[in-house]
Amino acid sequence: MSRNDIWNAMFGGLSDYGDILALVANSVWAGAILGLVGGLIGVIVMQRDMAFAVHGISELSFAGAAAALLFGFDVVTGSIIGSIIAAAVIGWLGARARDRNSIIGVLMPFGLGLGILFLSLYNGRSANRFSLLTGQIVSVQSSQLGWLAGISIVVLLGLMLVWRPLRFDSLDPQGAAARGVPVRAVSLLFMLLLGLIVAVAVHIIGALLVMALLVTPAAAAMRVAAGPLAVPLLAALFGVVSAVGGIMLAIAGTLPVSPYITTVSFVIYLVCRGIGARRDRVSRAE
């Protein structure tokens, strides 16, 4: 590949940028909503130390979507079924962090293997296969985009309603139980919401890269803030910037969207880490 080819792949579409943007406007919106909800739910994911669970759920979600592709039913439905099953199993059996990690470690390769099996059996367009693993939001049909956005909004509302008890349980489980928070119900509800949003993310950035929107923005926010409002707001902002920025950069060329999203969110994380480390040094020097 010559330098010229690379330039074309990255920026070849710049001359028609406005037209392309208009074409993918719906994808940008869907990406923005996912970024927002992913950033917010990521805060709880980090507080509950469940980054690994996100990965495990996404592989099962991939298996569900691949099964849907093979058996010819709706792919979004398939990924949601896969997600919910994984989230339920992890939520049910993995109350303690150690049990949880071993269950996820067992589930994840099984899900991924199952998904690959279904994809190999599938004879349809090969682009569909690849996109479930690494994502291609601009190729998602607009009827499905509506679904994905709708599910994200449901998750957002649900998350807001249980935010405080969920946060209490995440930060101080004993204290929360002592004060009458229904910790079991709150945890299972969280797993349900997490399963739904992971299923959405699988379609937008792909099963392998879900963490870039569900973990990285929150991890970045927690390096630079500690307040109960500052952390979720920053995480949501970082999520939106990663998702929207990634799509906007990607449509300038012909490369897939996901690497742009993962790169933007990673750069944000690096910057936040730098700021956090600097601040630590300053406060220690005082």
Partner: protein
């Protein structure tokens, strides 16, 4: 109304009777320390009062109502100090805030009343100077003061404390005891405090519930912390020594050594027998 009444309580776990026939009334403004070796069901007693575990027998009436539901906001609860990870997304004041509105469902819109209450609680536990710093960077003593603030959020008339002094230095132990003592006087609250070291509480404690070997003894410190009483409770020779206003129990079989990893914390034990 007495803050707490326990009648005919028994606790059996795994075929073993931890205690039975326990009757305990905590009077308003009374501080009762719960002592005993590890595995004697001290924490389970507190958790049963909170409705988080079930007794094998007997009933508990807390603040005038039989315990039925899991958890209660009318009962204050101070857990053992476990240091928060440094990068916990929580400021000191939020630790207190969890007690004020952490249980509430619905859109998390900040309210002025909540903020005021949190400020008042922080002030009451002497935490104003450090409340805005990230909770993970606070010292164990500072975190524990704020946890007491969290427990006092609803001005409880019954306060349960599970090893609230563990891993605190002497000055912070004293500070936390003073906060608890002040609250029980101001609110006429009953306090049940699980501890493995009675010394920081000797000036404040009214009665002691000593659980060991499937039995228990209840009485004033002078009645319970005696060589012959503890010897018959343990069924083995145990000596209670007093020196310099402090009290040392020597020879208690399987006393709570689990809490005493060398160098783990810094309160002034004089060897292994320093805790009652």
């Amino acid at each position: 109304m007495n803050p707490l009444e326990i009648r005919g309580a028994a606790l059996r776990r795994g075929g073993r009777t931890l205690w039975s026939g326990l009757d305990l009334t905590v009077h308003p403004g009374e501080l009762i320390a719960v002592l005993g070796p590890s595995g004697s069901g001290k924490t389970t007693l507190l958790r049963s009062i909170l409705g988080l575990e079930r007794l094998s027998e007997g009933e508990i009436v807390a603040l005038g109502a039989p315990v039925q539901r899991a958890g209660s906001r009318r009962i204050g609860y101070v857990p053992q100090q476990r240091p928060l990870p440094r990068d916990t997304a929580l400021r000191g004041r939020d630790l207190v805030g969890l007690g004020v509105d952490g249980h509430r469902f619905g859109f998390p819109i900040p309210r002025r009343g909540t903020r005021k209450r949190v400020d008042a609680l922080i002030d009451a536990v002497g935490g104003t100077a450090f409340a805005d710093r990230p909770a993970g960077t606070l010292s164990g003593g500072e975190q524990q003061r704020l946890r007491v603030g969290q427990a006092l959020a609803d001005n409880p008339r019954l306060l349960l404390c599970d090893e609230p002094l563990t891993s605190l230095d002497l000055a912070n132990q004293r500070a936390v005891v003073t906060l608890i003592d002040q609250h029980r006087r101001d609110a006429q609250a009953g306090v049940l405090l699980v501890t493995h070291d009675i010394n920081p509480l000797l000036g404040q404690v009214d009665r002691i519930l000593y659980l060991a070997h499937g039995r228990f003894t209840l009485g004033t410190p002078d009645e319970v912390l005696r060589t012959e009483v503890l010897t018959s409770l343990y069924g083995a020779p145990v000596f209670v020594l007093r020196a310099g206003g402090r009290l040392v129990v020597i020879g208690a079989p399987d006393a709570e050594e689990a809490h005493h990893h060398a160098g783990d914390h810094d309160h002034d034990h004089d060897g292994e027998g320093a805790h009652a």
